[in-house]
Amino acid sequence: MTTKDLEKALGLVKIAGGDTVKEVSGMYICDLLSLVMSKARQNCAWITVQTNINIVAVAHLADISCIIIPEGIAVDNNTIVKANDEGILIYQSQKTSYELAVEFSKL
């Protein structure tokens, strides 16, 4: 599955990353960045309520395919600018992390 397929299937709204398309092979939900660094698998979609600029570096370093911000939480503007620079996809959703994970498991 690609990030484009995921975007469509879960009804996500893209807020950064431009035309980047990546493979998605799993999902990881966590807000502690050290845990994400060591536990998130390569090519996963990462759901977090953290919206500060540091999530961009974590996604880049841990080979995460995309970041999903749940529950309509607003994302810092400098995070969006940095993500666009680095080609890191960030999506927003009104759904909860749980709802997103349940929907993902059915794909």
């Binding site: 953290q50 570096a57 370093l61 940095k82």
Partner: protein, 142 residues
């Protein structure tokens, strides 16, 4: 790649928005040199944790990375407050990070243990009020 490459970074301790820049830069260099993804992942995790520790606890520092075909050698030096009890600091879950830093998603108390876990050689020395020196080596697959 015959000779080794040396990269040096001044880590700004006051700017959280720049945190991770050195690690990201090293990752890009390793990718361009064609290193194995698993090696790059180990270096990325170990170095990012070290870089963040410098920003969070030590008001910045200097990172020197030497890349050779055999290994990636990382040296992190700061003149921060130092670590009083290294054994305690190495324990997973132990953290002295402030609430402000925790709100950003840091302070899980996994930094030093991740650094040790993802490097093949990990040496830390620290002196209170003088600073901390961390040496890490990730060996390349031969």
């Amino acid at each position: 790649m015959d000779k080794s490459i040396v990269l040096k970074y001044d880590v700004d301790g006051n700017d959280f928005s720049l945190a991770g820049e050195a690690s990201s830069s090293v990752k890009k260099v390793l990718l361009s040199l064609g290193f194995d993804p698993e090696i790059i992942r180990k270096v990325s995790i170990a170095l990012y944790e070290g870089e963040m520790n410098m920003v969070i606890h030590a008001n910045g520092g200097v990172i020197t990375v030497e890349i050779s075909p055999e290994e990636i050698h990382m040296l992190l030096e700061d003149t921060g407050p130092g670590i009083e009890d290294i054994e305690l600091a190495m324990q997973e879950g132990y953290s002295t990070a402030s609430d402000k830093v925790r709100e950003l998603g840091f302070g899980a108390g996994m930094g030093l243990s991740n650094m040790k876990k993802y490097s093949d050689v990990f040496i830390i020395t620290s002196e209170v009020n003088k600073g901390t020196r961390v040496e890490m080596v990730v060996k390349n697959k031969q």
